[in-house]
């Protein structure tokens, strides 16, 4: 019998094989011992451009390329390291200071060790992903060094060494190897060893620091290192708060919040059905009230008060427990604003804090009284309390420092102090921030993140990330909006622009039809095609034509920009577009989904240029019955690009009988028939307030003249109607071909109804009941109801066909059995996907001969994409709306200032008509259609008859105390009167949907110094004329 033992002498490699042995426990609690081989080698480069040794040994990949060296030959230095330095952070440093490492002002030339990366992955996946993203960007010069595989830096764990000690030792070993290596390399070049950069280990571990000192390795703690940098104050704030707390030690102060249940208890409870899981959602009108929708019940559960919400923040996924019936309450009918109630909290003193401050308690008491008093008819709703957090959904928040909270220490300069940050999003509580630069942060828009919310603190604590600029400046506010709504606004990275055609703007449709671009394309250049868009539109993604056929029917064509020709599946550009999901339109800015070159030039169906298109062609009878439809890739030549107004003028001009105009008239006739058919089928005419702002109007006039409500021309609906038709045709086509994976679009049924007798069983029924809601005295009433109805709808969503049963496909608003988005591929990613699916459905081969559908055929992946585009789409809408709101505010402010200049005591506001949209016990919400904005009107902002019309906010503040209200929740009316005033006339009564005269102005909030601006609405006259 021969021996089977491994014989190292027989194999030269074998000497360098080590084993990594580790133990891990699986989810089920089983313990596994895992053995991995490690092949130690000496050809892992140090990746420093200074090094003269490594370039010769760095081995190539399969294509013979050697990875470019990352670390700069002239690394930045600090006072302590004048020759420059490379940083070697340990895991802890990255855990605490990831924001610092991402900062663009410092932290270049960083060596990330394999050991550290692996440890970080085990500790926090999000941080791991951020670090990977950092390593991938070129300009930060982060190098991932596989130290465990380099013979010299491989560290074997000692017999009684803890894994942490071993990893620390690995970091130190690398640091000493690097400095040794760089010195040898410098010596080879004949330079002095002194000129090589220092290797600085960054660690917060005291033991590690000490050992490093004894081993002659330069090591600094994160805060020590940062203190040596130029911008140290700003940077020091970015170290995670948690670390500072840790050093303070636990055990001080009382605990304000109840403890969360243990994970196992939560899981048992959730499984048993005694606890419920859902997304925590704070009411936008009352920060103490929130709701959680859980699958077990039809209606959302209420959560009232700080105690019950137990440190949950809007957006978190929480576990809740239903409270006993005697604690059930009706939802609040009051406006409660956190800023107003907790104005005076002191960020420093935690001792005096109670979770529920007296004022808050009072606000709550009132509500309980209300609930109990009305309990005969007003039915209390089930309430619940948060008992655990399943998943935090904390992100970075935009806000500003509450000037009150900086207090008297404002002058004390550099001392570290606690301040409150008021997030822009009202649903987020104040964030406590420790900073040394409170005075300089005042009046700036800043970005902060929440680190923790310990039980002994009333507010979450966070740390500062960066400043966006001064409050109210265009740049800062725009960036704030984009950040708040998670819009990707960074310029396209190089990988994306590399995917663009090399010809750039000179790209043309190939002349020769033999070219592979022509394969499978129909030549439609002879058709009289034109496009109709808003004025100034650059990304034209649709064009139309109509022409009579010999048999008396008509051929109608919709031509959509063929974006899928340029954006190939799964390249960098496609991935970027799928992340962005949609183009975001702000008042003065457009955040593109696709690079400029494609969106506004190569794909855009501009006039007089040949462009690739994806065409839908119908044969229609003169009565707009569709005889047949046909889909094809094509090449078109647009004859004219009109704006809506121009097209309307052309159509109206009787003398114009060119082929193009005739075809537009034909289209218009068809569109009217189609529209009528749609309404007959029960489509809804829903409304949403749309305001258009012409930002570049001249500056002298009244700034408010720029604000216009969108005009509706016949040509608008012409285009709209054919786009709908194209979308519906395409939807059924792709559903035929991809019954499991077609990307469709739907609006669910009305999720809830409010205040009105509306029949929601079908869209047709709703449409007719909406039509009945007409108030002869109030022409705007119908529109108002429609706006409300639109809001009650679950917002439209994309979905993958396989995920729903077919009857659920119905598009509620359009009364169409099936719908998708096909017509705007330049600005919506969903359309791009639909293009690919359609191309595959019609058997288009693509220029390389293999089908283009690859990558969109798997359902799981599509569902992920759907989730993302639904989210992006919603956020893009919110961002657009917020941008308009901001602009209106600025216009009001400019007007106010102008008026003030003319006449010192002129009233700064503007008189407008408004409508009451919601009624609360202590205020109402008023909608001003002229500006498309909504605002809260508080008690003090009611101007009672006979009262001197002083509009200064400071004077009015105290009025609120003297006022009482009568609120009738059944009739939705609110009567405001002065306390103890005998005259009955001295009161105002408002009711839902009432038309009121309001005074709109933009004011700075009083008492908060550099505070923010809000649109203030005063109710002047509530008599319904």
């Amino acid at each position: 019998m021969k021996s089977l033992r491994r014989d190292p002498s027989s194999n030269s490699q074998a000497a360098n094989v080590a084993s990594k042995v580790f133990v891990r426990s699986t989810r089920s609690g089983k313990v596994q011992k895992i053995v991995r081989e490690l092949y130690l080698r000496q050809d892992i480069p140090c990746s420093s451009k200074l090094c003269s040794i490594c370039p010769s040994i760095a081995p190539p990949d399969r294509n013979g390329n050697i990875a470019p060296f990352v670390l700069s030959d002239q690394p930045a230095g600090t006072k302590a390291f004048p020759r420059g330095h490379y940083l070697v952070p340990d895991t802890n440093a990255l855990m605490n200071g990831m924001d610092l490492f991402e900062h663009t002002g410092a932290f270049y030339d960083v060596i990330i060790l394999q050991t550290v990366l692996e440890e970080l992955r085990n500790l926090s996946l999000p941080l791991y992903n951020r670090l990977l993203a950092l390593i991938k960007t070129d300009d930060k010069r982060f190098y991932l060094f596989f130290n465990e595989f380099r013979l010299e830096t491989h560290v074997r764990r000692g017999a009684d060494e803890s894994i942490n000690d071993r990893n620390d030792r690995a970091v130190r070993t690398v640091a000493s190897w690097y400095s040794e290596h760089l010195k040898t390399s410098a010596a080879k070049k004949g330079k002095k060893a002194k000129s090589v950069p220092a290797i600085v280990v960054i660690t917060n571990d005291k033991g590690n620091l000490e050992k490093a000192r004894s081993e002659n390795v330069t090591a600094l703690s994160l805060s020590d290192y940062v203190s040596g940098l130029e911008d140290s104050e700003r940077l020091l704030d970015m170290i995670t708060e948690a670390q500072v707390r840790e050093s303070k030690g636990p055990g001080r102060g009382e605990l304000f919040y109840p403890e969360y249940y243990s994970m196992s208890k939560l899981q048992t409870g959730l499984r048993a059905g005694t606890l419920h899981q859902g997304v925590y959602n704070v009411s936008p009108y009352n920060y103490l009230e929130s709701s959680v929708k859980v699958p077990a019940f039809d209606k959302a559960l209420l959560i009232l008060g700080r105690d019950n919400s137990n440190r949950a923040i809007s957006g978190d996924i929480v576990a809740i427990e239903v409270l006993p019936k005697d604690q059930w309450k009706s939802p609040s009918t009051k406006l409660v604003d956190e800023e107003a109630v907790t104005r005076n909290d002191n960020p420093d003193s935690e001792e005096t804090e109670a979770v529920v401050s007296d004022k808050e308690r009072k606000a709550l008491q009132d509500e309980v009284k209300k609930a109990h008093g009305k309990s005969s008819e007003g039915n209390p709703q089930p309430t619940a309390k948060v008992v655990g957090i399943i998943k935090r959904n904390w992100r970075q928040y935009v806000g500003h420092v509450d000037s009150n909270s900086t207090g008297s220490q404002e002058t004390s300069g550099r001392r570290q102090q606690n301040v409150f940050v008021l997030p822009m999003d009202k649903k987020i509580p104040k964030i406590r921030l420790r900073t040394r630069q409170a005075s300089s942060l005042l009046g700036e828009r800043i970005l902060v993140t929440i680190d923790s919310w310990p039980r002994d603190s009333r507010y979450p604590s966070g740390h500062f990330i960066r400043s966006l600029g001064e409050l109210e400046t265009k740049g800062a506010e725009t960036e704030a909006l984009l950040l708040e709504y998670d819009v990707q606004y960074k310029p396209f990275p190089k990988a994306v622009t590399d995917c663009l055609p090399k010809e750039g703007h000179d790209w043309k449709v190939p002349q020769s039809k033999e070219d592979k671009g022509w394969k499978g394309r129909r030549d439609l250049r002879h058709l009289q095609v034109c496009s109709i868009d808003p004025p100034g539109c650059q990304d034209i993604d649709d064009a139309l034509h109509a022409r009579p056929l010999p048999n008396g029917n008509f051929e109608v064509g919709v031509h959509i920009a063929d974006v899928s020709h340029f954006v190939k599946p799964n390249n960098a550009m496609d991935l970027e577009a799928s992340i962005r999901g949609t183009t975001v339109y702000l008042v003065d800015k457009r955040i593109d989904m696709l690079p400029h070159l494609l969106g506004t030039d190569l794909c855009s169906l501009k006039c007089d240029v040949e462009r690739y298109a994806f065409s839908v062609l119908w044969e229609m009878t003169p009565n707009a019955e569709i005889v047949s439809s046909d889909f094809t890739k094509s090449v078109i030549l647009s004859r004219q690009s009109y704006s809506y107004e121009q097209a309307q003028l052309k159509i109206d001009d009787k003398s114009d009988t060119t082929e193009l105009t005739e075809s537009m008239r034909q289209l218009l006739r068809f569109s009217k028939i189609l529209r009528q058919k749609r309404y007959d089928a029960g489509a809804l005419n829903l409304a949403s307030p749309e305001v258009r702002i012409e930002a570049d109007a001249d500056e002298v006039g009244d700034p408010l003249n720029d604000v216009k409500t969108k005009a509706m021309l016949e040509t608008n609906s012409l285009v709209e109607e054919f786009m709908l038709l194209a979308n519906i045709s395409v939807a059924s086509k792709i559903y035929d071909s991809f019954s499991q994976t077609a990307l469709l679009h739907l609006i669910n049924q009305l999720s809830k109804k409010r205040n009105m007798e509306l029949d929601v069983s079908s869209s047709g029924a709703l449409a007719s009941s909406l039509d009945r809601c007409v108030d002869p005295k109030n022409p705007f009433f119908n529109t108002l109801v429609r706006i409300l109805a639109t809001r009650c709808m679950t917002s439209a969503e994309y979905f993958v066909a396989g995920a729903h049963a077919e009857p659920e496909f119905r598009h509620y608003g359009l009364a169409s059995p099936i719908y998708t988005h096909f017509t705007s591929p330049i600005r919506r990613y969903a359309d791009l996907l639909v293009h690919r699916q359609l191309a595959s459905a019609i058997g288009y081969e693509g220029e390389d001969g293999h089908a283009v559908i690859e990558g969109v055929a798997t359902r799981g992946k599509l569902e992920d994409i759907c989730r993302n585009i639904n989210y992006r789409h919603r956020n893009a809408q919110f961002a657009g709306r917020a941008s308009i709101e901001y602009y209106v505010g600025q216009a009001l402010k400019a007007r106010g200032e102008m008026e003030q200049k003319k006449n010192a005591d002129a009233d700064a506001g503007i008189k407008e008509e408004g409508y009451v949209m919601r009624v609360f016990e202590n205020g109402v919400v008023v909608f001003v259609p002229r500006f498309g904005i909504e605002g809260v009107v508080r008690l003090e902002d009611f101007v009672l008859p006979g009262e001197s019309a002083s509009f200064s906010a400071s004077e009015r503040r105290d009025l609120a105390i003297h006022r009482t209200t009568e609120f009738d929740p059944e009739e939705y009316t609110l009567r405001v009167e002065e306390k103890g005033h005998p005259e009955k006339e001295r009161s105002v009564q408002v009711e839902l949907f009432q038309r009121v005269q309001v005074n709109v102005s933009s004011v700075k909030e009083e008492g908060r110094g550099a505070g923010k601006r809000r649109v203030r609405i005063l109710i002047l006259d509530a008599s319904d004329k």
């Binding site: 081989e37 490690l38 990949d61 692996e118």
Partner: protein, 269 residues
Amino acid sequence: MPLETSTTYPLTKLRLDGRRWNEMRVFQAQISTNPASSGSSYLAMGNTSIMCSVHGPAEGRRGEASGSAGSGGAVVDVDVNVAGFAGIDRKRRAGGSDRQSTNISTILRSAFQSHLHTYLYPHSTISIHVSVLSSDGSLLAAAINACTLALVDAGIPMPGLLCGCTAGMTGSASTPKDPREDELDPLMDLSLPEEQELPYLTIGTTTMVPVGQNNMDEDEEDGETKVAVLNMDSKVHYTYLDSLVPVAIDGCREIRELMEGVIRGSQRM
């Protein structure tokens, strides 16, 4: 949790055990390890180790000779046993074979049935027993190699050595390859964690020794190389096969050289 090849490979061009894309694990093999059998071998590729023994050609049992392949020549019978301690978890296997070992034995049987010169032994059975002692990826490839060595040891004639090797891609490779920016590299000889993460295939090739020459030591004049086994259980887009197959075939050639060395170096008792 350890890192993933698909995320770190593009950054470092190193796999998670420190190998580069075209490096094999340590290969070690012996033949004639068990004198009681007609031929036997022990083979280790990295942490995968396999023992194999061959019995026969012997007279067929239970009238196997009357089976489908029986009329022409010997029947190859393969039995694969994965030891309970071979994987990470110790498994108690009731009744012997599971899906994995059945699968491997089916592939081995059909590969060697057609590979060996079975017509020389009519009405007989060649039985091969494969015992997997420790499993760390490329199990099928290692089993092919171990069988070949044991069959050579047993002196059963074959046209050339049948060698197996795996190749995988450093990424899911589920979409068409883009020739302009191809970040994925093929990998040779996958270990278990890599197999679990990445798509891979197993290839077995044979190189004919030209008849009439004693060519075992003439490396220059290689005969024709033929792919005898190709097995793939994972999904990969077909455009990547172009880069996967050559890498696996290269691996097979390296293994053939190593195995020839093993055969030459051993003296038969």
